[in-house]
Symmetry: C2
Subunit: 391 residues, 2 copies
DNA sequence: TCCTTTTGTTAAGGATCCTAACTTGGTCCC
DNA sequence: GGGACCAAGTTAGGATCCTTAACAAAAGGA
């Protein structure tokens, strides 16, 4: 509790701590002495009280160097790793292309990258207390099994957690990447201070992470926020004589249904743009579409607006079920807030009275990695406190 | 804490309590003496130990009569009220038709009914510690304002909470009815013991309540679970040349979109059945449709199956965003599990890999009322403990 | 009748945190 | 520059809470 107060307030004198925590001065003094002996707290200097007239205060602060953590982002194309101290301050960072073709190789590469990052930052591996790995797929909190990781071959195999754990030898959590990105935005980005918000990742796939009261909302099987699986309508209709309908029948795959991921992810943006008449040759990726739209291409702008309207449906679904205060848009597609946000908000107004604030990610590609680091730091703080306090 | 242990275990001796709570025998004795003096705990007898050979144990139990609560269900057609003790055991119950046409009259009627139920149960009003009122609409935890209560004229007016509070003079919460139904199912019905489940209310409208770890999940503005507002697809499509599609265009209102409530609530069932050819004269309510289906009417069965398929979409949306372990179906339409569950489950298998268990409500029409009572009892237990413990 | 077993009470001790008074080290002002 | 003043930190003593250990009381069985 004292540590939490110290971390929140930074360098603080013991008298000040006594005031903010409600404890008495003697209690704070003895407890802090214990924490200092355990290496969790450090004198940070002695400040001659900028204003006051009394005796100079000795300042203490939680020592972020009491332990270090590693965050790893296992993406389809990149492996990213960062080392950070207990405050979550990044002290080392390294990305490599993900060339591994098997899950085993990926585990090895990830572990090697983690150790390399720690070494580069001048850390001995024994100082690393906890590691958090983010990857696509659903990780069941109970079984440690990764499921639905369609993009990573073999990554869903069981025993993977144990292998990673053995390679690293630190505390370990494996979590869904969208969930970690949400934590990252909560800790450092657009979601700071929000009581309930959702991070909507739109890129090569679609996913969401939900943070409620600062904690990840994971669902009954760890699959909360897997809105890529949200089935698209139309609803089943009666066969036989129906009521006359003047509305034009919609065309395209959405009329047939399918998971929402297929309708809004990067590939869908490309397909959409091409179907509206953009040339196949110069329209290879979603990035091309957004670039063309920014250059003023009317067709591309139309495709972007259509994508925005589809995303509005995703946001509306989140709003109807969760009622978040805020939705943060991220991922390769979602980051294009300059083009997407305005039409998305307009469309949302027509869809539902429940309209959360919608903004774009503040962390971009680093959201997952920083979320992993933030979560690892949190876990490490508890763990370091527990172990050091016994001794 | 001792009280919680007592309530969980029922009548218990002090020695037994010391064992289960981890406290020492003297501590339990003195604490229990204090609770007894405060009137929160009572000797329930002395059992000569059915089996053991030792001294007879004096049994204690939490006194449920230390306070009473009222639960009220303000529905469009009925006002229901129940009085219960701190255990949530109902000691009085009364329903009246809701004839009030203005919010003011409804407040008056509800308060009168509450007092009548208490009197009938032989309670003095001063014994009533807390009241919980369930009604349609979203109640913002911050402002106490009820919003979106489309079915109750004037109920959304501000100041309503304060008027009700003044009329009753007890602790008061006003909560969404679907949320309370979820709490009811958690406390007494199909959701018992579930870590995360959703109650899906399908009747004259559509709503859901979410209970996570025994606590209501209310969302950022108290609107979590308002899936009646879930917009229906189809997704917006590109104008211009689209990819060829062989799928037949769906017909009916769902092709035009709209909130999900319009597609699955009782009125929609009637419209659906009629559109499939059921006679208007004998198809007045959803109940008629289900009755006909049970009698073997093929058209009605078709309509029911179609409704089940639509509900499967609602369940799939819940699953994709929340990932509940369990979905409990309730309300005038939802209660027909014998007809709905099988096709719903079949359809769900085609829609999504995330398939929660789906069952029907165990409490039926009483879910909201019992949920209100359960929540009121919980609030009252804390309140009674706090106030009596000071004195 | 006495022994065993379990309940509940009494007595003593320790952990934790508090209040109150005091010491220390500093700024401010004459 | 020396004392007044002020806030930081320490020391001493005490209250509260809970624990362990031993004991007294009550019941069943030999």
């Amino acid at each position: 509790m004292l540590l939490d107060a110290l971390r929140a307030a930074g360098s603080t004198s013991r008298a000040e701590l006594a005031r903010t925590t409600g404890l008495s001065k003697p209690t704070v003094s003895t407890a802090l002495a214990g924490l200092e002996r355990a290496g969790l707290v450090r004198r940070t200097g002695e400040v001659s009280k900028g204003q006051g007239r009394g005796r100079a205060a000795v300042l203490y602060a939680a020592d972020p160097a009491a332990g270090y953590v590693i965050g790893v982002d296992v993406g389809r194309e990149w492996l990213r790793a960062a080392a950070a101290d207990l405050d979550g301050t990044v002290v080392g960072r390294r990305d490599t292309p993900n060339t591994a073709r098997t899950a085993g190789a990926m585990v090895r590469d990830a572990a090697r990258l983690a150790r390399a990052v720690a070494a580069e930052a001048g850390l001995d591996w024994s100082q690393v207390v906890h590691t958090v790995v983010g990857s696509p797929g659903v990780t069941d909190p109970g079984t440690h099994r990764v499921r639905y990781a369609v993009n990573l071959p073999g990554w869903g195999r069981s025993g993977l957690f144990d292998r990673l754990h053995a390679e690293l030898g630190t505390g370990l959590d494996v979590l869904n990447d969208a969930n970690l990105a949400a934590l990252g935005e909560y800790a450092l980005g657009a979601g700071q201070g929000s009581r309930l918000f959702a991070y909507l990742w739109v890129g090569t796939g679609l996913g969401a992470g939900v943070v409620a009261d600062g904690r990840l909302f994971r669902g009954g099987h760890g699959a909360a926020g897997e809105i890529g699986y949200l089935p698209m309508f139309p609803l089943p209709q009666a066969a036989g004589p129906g009521p006359a309908t003047g509305a034009p029948a919609p065309v395209g795959f959405s009329a047939r249904g399918g998971p929402m991921e297929d309708a809004v992810s990067a590939d869908a943006v490309v397909a959409l743009a091409r179907s509206m008449g953009m040339p196949e040759a110069t329209t290879r990726t979603a990035k091309d579409v957004f670039a063309a739209a920014r250059a003023g291409d009317a067709t591309a702008l139309g495709a972007v607006e259509c994508e925005a309207a589809r995303l509005a449906h995703a946001v509306a679904a989140l709003a109807a079920v969760l009622d978040p205060e805020l939705v943060v848009l991220g991922g390769g597609v979602g980051r294009n807030g300059d083009l997407l946000l305005a039409p998305l908000r307009t469309c949302l107004r027509e869809l539902t009275p429940l309209r959360p604030r919608v903004v774009t990610s503040a962390l971009g590609d680093d959201a997952v990695l920083l979320g992993a680091v933030a979560r690892a730091a949190e876990a490490a703080r508890e763990r370091v406190f527990d172990t050091r306090h016994d001794a």
